[in-house]
């Protein structure tokens, strides 16, 4: 589906009043919405995303999750332009297979993150319009979250929100997990149950206020036992 200049630059529709003749240019990008979130705990990691796929004022699908399983210990969440998300995950899967065949072992989360950074930078002058967050366990079994920008700059975090509602979710996570802007509060480590409940609450808030987030929430919980998936319904309006 083409996206022309009618759909403003961040995916939101432009005003419907006549401003004069407008040149419609083909844009290779489109904004499909969606929010992704990842939290790292002591011995677990959670990657969650909503499942709404939209474009402009329409919803293409209510069941299009944005978490993709890469290995037994790593899950990636991709939001932005769905076409680039699909291609990027295909490329990552292919590179994982190649690594497995040449090195006879699976890629670790840190290695996947470094590899993704160079894949993204390879398209520095025609970027993948994708906001990625990788969640998984590192070599010591501790939770790890790596967040990226569209051209490959990345860093390891404890928690990160990406996608259309990221600006709404990140401050809440800063306060609840990072204990920011609170004084005299005990810094308790995050338990898995509390983290899952927090993720659900945070997405419910996002669905209230962001049009591109809603329908359902897919949570992937990564522990040394494996990856468990949970689906929770959200507002469908």
């Amino acid at each position: 589906m083409f996206a022309t200049q009618v759909y403003g630059d961040n995916g939101k529709m432009k005003e419907y009043h006549y401003t004069g003749p407008v040149e419609h240019r083909f844009s290779p990008y489109s904004f499909n919405g969606g929010t992704v979130l990842a939290v790292a705990g002591e011995d677990f990691a959670i990657v969650a995303s909503d499942t709404r796929l939209s474009e402009g004022y329409s919803i293409h699908s209510r069941d299009s999750p944005k978490c993709y399983k890469l290995t037994d210990t790593t899950v990636i969440g991709c939001s932005g332009f769905h076409g680039d998300c699909l291609t990027l995950t295909k490329i990552i899967d292919a590179r994982l297979k190649m690594y497995k065949h040449s090195n006879n072992k699976c890629m670790t989360s840190g290695a996947i993150a470094a590899m993704l950074s160079t894949i993204l930078y390879g398209r520095r002058f025609f970027p993948y319009y994708v906001y990625n967050i990788i969640g998984g366990l590192d070599e010591e079994g501790k939770g790890a979250v790596y967040s990226f920008d569209p051209v490959g700059s990345y860093q390891r975090d404890t928690y990160k929100a990406g996608g259309s509602a990221s600006a709404m979710l990140q401050p809440l996570l800063d306060n609840q997990i990072g204990f920011k802007n609170m004084e005299g509060v005990q810094h308790l480590p995050l338990s898995q149950e509390k983290a899952v409940q927090l993720v659900k609450d945070v997405f419910i808030s996002a669905a209230e206020r962001d049009v591109y987030t809603g329908d359902a929430l897919r949570i992937c919980i990564i522990t040394k036992e494996g990856i468990k998936e949970e689906t929770v319904p959200l507002r469908k309006d």
Binding site: G11, Y121, G122, F125, G152, S153, D157
Partner: protein
């Protein structure tokens, strides 16, 4: 080109992309250690698309880099101090970015401009420095390292890379400090501050360096204070102050201080 050979992709002709970029309206917000912060079409590499003032590609509009990094030479080496904020437009993407890249145990590089550009090219520089060491059986000089970096990015001049970095180290000739950017500048100097908060930082460092012969402790305090003042007045700088000291044995990470804590500390000192 360097980029194509690293990624082992078929060498792509990049020269056309510059022309085509104008047509792509996109809401891409790349994390910047702060390139221009306009809303709307803010592709961080939209340097050319914005200069539609009819002068053609020759005239460049100077964009502010929303960050503050500084480095200065003194009697006992080089002090490197940076903030840690990364912005995507007006959204603060992270307050904990590492803007000092440890190229090797005796060379440091700072980051300002496009985060991905800086980290990618400095990582490539680390690889080149290591190859030099293996081939020549001696450490690379700061002048040579900065020259390698400048030459690597010069091939991409005009294509929209955004990188303003300081290469700091200690080699045979003593402390070394070079400023290298994606426009092709490479200058040697005793003091540099890069970023939107640089003017505020210059004020503090210039007045502090007036008295000769600083001790290591005094120089560190000066660097920390300069970054703190810049974060105080510049909206695009903030987070933490990361301080490094480069001496004859290499570099040492001196401290990481949250700006909020520094504020309380300086306020109580004033009282």
């Amino acid at each position: 080109m360097a980029l194509a050979s690293v990624l082992q992709s078929e060498s792509v002709d990049f020269s056309n992309y510059g022309r085509q970029r104008r047509g792509f309206a996109s809401g891409l917000y790349e994390t910047e250690l702060g390139l221009e912060s306009v809303g709307g079409d803010s592709l961080s590499f939209a340097l050319r698309t914005s200069c539609s003032n009819g002068d053609g590609p020759d005239r460049k509009i100077e964009f502010l880099h929303g960050t503050t990094t500084l480095a200065f030479k003194f009697q006992h080496g080089v002090i490197v101090a940076v903030d840690s904020r990364a912005t995507a437009g007006s959204y603060i993407a992270s307050q904990t970015v590492k803007k000092v890249i440890e190229i090797n145990p005796y060379l440091l590089g700072t980051m300002a401009g496009g985060a991905a550009d800086c980290s990618f090219w400095e990582r490539l520089l680390a690889r080149q420095c290591r190859v030099y060491e293996l081939r020549n059986k001696e450490r690379i000089s700061v002048a040579a390292a900065s020259k390698l970096l400048a030459n690597m990015v010069y091939q991409y001049k005009g294509m929209g890379l955004s990188m303003g970095t300081m290469v700091c180290g200690w080699d045979k000739t003593g402390p070394g400090l070079y400023y290298v950017d994606s426009e092709g500048n490479r200058v040697c100097g005793d003091l540099f501050a890069v970023g939107s908060g640089s003017m505020y930082a210059y004020g503090i460092v210039d007045s502090g360096l007036k008295q000769k012969d600083l001790t290591v402790e005094e120089a560190c305090d000066l660097g920390r204070r300069a970054i703190y003042q810049a974060t105080y007045r510049d909206a695009y700088s903030g987070g933490q102050v990361n301080l490094y000291h480069v001496h004859s044995e290499g570099w040492t990470r001196v401290s990481q201080s949250d700006v909020l804590m520094l504020h309380q500390q300086y306020q109580s000192e004033k009282a």
